[in-house]
């Protein structure tokens, strides 16, 4: 493991929230059941491949939705959520995850 340094988190601050409030549609997804070390606190979680309205494709965790509710093409929106408690930067890190726009 490499040295944990919060300066990495600080350096990424200008870009970390660029997907906040952006909208797009789900083009693929998976449920991770065998996570890497940094995500073992979550046990299982959903990750989506999202085609944004801007045309860009991005990848983020999906929240406020279960795997049975996911549908290809469903509309999603970027929201602020906690990414790590004790991750690679050694600080509690916040970033963007995506949730369905329509109430499920």
């Amino acid at each position: 493991m490499y040295w944990k340094n919060p300066v990495r988190s600080w350096r990424r601050q200008p870009n970390r929230y660029e997907y906040l409030n952006q909208t797009g549609k789900l083009i693929s997804w998976t449920e991770i059941s065998a996570p890497p070390v940094s995500f073992q606190w979550q046990q299982t979680y959903l990750v989506g491949l999202i085609k944004l309205d801007s045309g860009e494709t991005t990848v983020h965790q999906l929240v406020e939705v279960s795997r049975d509710q996911l549908k290809m093409g469903m509309k999603l929106k970027g929201v602020l959520r906690k990414l790590y408690e004790d991750g690679p930067e050694g600080v509690i890190t916040y970033g963007v995850k995506f949730k369905p726009i329509k109430q499920i």
Binding site: S28, P36, V47, L49
Partner: protein, 374 residues
């Protein structure tokens, strides 16, 4: 320029969880075995290209140049190459280039990986060093990245879970015939479908395992039974989300096209192929990217209904010590072309192809080898 390249020796170790052997044990053993296959002595080797990926993370060892120099007692150029799971394939590509250009006459290509010493979550994190930062921050793993490809492919082309589950079944049938395979036993489609979920829709039996192992190929410009007609490399973005398509790998398409052109051959000329089936869906997509099947129709070719695929058992069942894989693929093709594959020998192959991929498609090496006439 453009000297011809011949294979003088091709050897692999047993793949598996090799608790009694360290990185250098594997490298030393396989190198000595390869040298015993040829009249070329160690002192005649001009350079060594070494494919390995996780040594710094898993073993805490950098500077493989010094490690190999001390291990073999040589002072020649030793060039470590790390291109994720294509490290071995790129080492082979570089060695071929070096002989074709006239820089060297005799080159040893060594692929080694020691992965089983650490738990699976640690190796998952180490391997994710080959993915984009955004993918790591989303908590993705390589099974997760290929699961995204699998779901997009299944949605776009209607591939069923039942059909996809046939791919590892076919690999295990070949591995049962390979004494050097990590998993030399058969499995059923039901076992694949019901295996514990790793990253949906992929289960444990859709995924290549964690393996230790090594392979060596010795190349020279001196005629031998098997020649290298072409070896080509192409690259793409490190992140899956930056690609033009989620259901094909552009780097493979480019490398394959250039490899066929260099060899003056067509996909229909290939008698057998060793492809990079790190996950079941990867083998289906590979068939299409290599021109062995039409878009959306890769499943039949992946099951070997057009030509034998992965007679070694592939990454899935022979094992996937990542730095060794690209070299082992060449070893299997050479073994088949020389008619020395034992119970898994196919009938009189003349042309074989290897396909080695880094990450989720950030680099690919496609090579074509031929059994020399006479």
């Amino acid at each position: 320029m453009n000297n011809r390249v011949f294979v003088q020796a091709a050897v692999q170790t047993k793949f598996g969880e090799l608790w009694d052997q360290d990185w250098t044990d594997l490298a030393q053993t396989v190198t000595q075995q390869a040298l015993q296959q040829t009249t070329i002595s160690l002192s005649q080797i001009d350079a060594i290209f070494v494919g390995s990926m996780t040594h710094a993370w898993v073993l805490g060892q950098h500077n493989l140049t010094g490690v190999v120099s001390q291990m073999l007692g040589v002072h020649i150029p030793i060039i470590p190459i790390e291109v994720a799971c294509a490290s071995g394939g790129v080492a082979f590509y570089q060695a071929v280039q070096a002989i074709q250009s006239g820089q060297y006459q005799r080159v040893l290509v060594l692929g080694v990986e020691k992965m089983a010493d650490v738990e699976s979550s640690v190796i998952a994190e180490a391997l994710m060093g080959a993915a984009a930062f955004e993918e790591r921050e989303a908590g993705l793993t390589f099974p997760g990245l290929y699961a995204l490809i699998a779901r997009a492919y299944m949605h776009q082309y209607g591939l069923s879970r039942e059909d996809l589950a046939q791919v590892p079944v076919a690999s295990h049938k070949w591995a049962k015939l390979n004494p050097l395979a990590q998993f030399p036993f058969e499995i059923t489609p039901e076992q694949v479908i019901n295996s514990s979920c790793v990253a949906s829709p992929l289960g444990l039996l859709d995924c290549s395992g964690v393996s230790d192992g090594a392979a060596v190929v010795i190349l020279s410009n001196k005629p031998a039974a098997v020649s290298v007609l072409s070896s080509q490399m192409a690259t793409d973005s490190i992140g899956l989300m930056s690609r033009h398509s989620m259901t094909d790998l552009k780097a493979v398409q480019i490398a394959a096209k250039q490899a066929y052109q260099q060899a003056k051959l067509k996909p229909t000329d290939i008698d057998l192929a060793e492809v990079h089936d790190c996950f079941s869906i990867a083998q289906v997509v590979a068939m299409e990217d290599l021109g062995l099947a039409a878009k959306g129709k890769g499943i039949e070719a992946a099951l070997g209904q057009k030509l034998p695929i992965n007679t070694s058992g592939g990454l899935k069942a022979c094992g996937h010590p990542v730095g060794a894989t690209g070299v082992k693929q060449v070893v299997e093709i050479v073994t088949q072309l020389q008619g020395q594959a034992g119970a898994r020998q196919i009938s009189h192959p003349k042309i074989g192809l290897t396909h080695n991929v880094a990450g989720s498609g950030s680099a690919a090496v496609v090579s074509i080898l031929r059994k020399e006439p006479g």
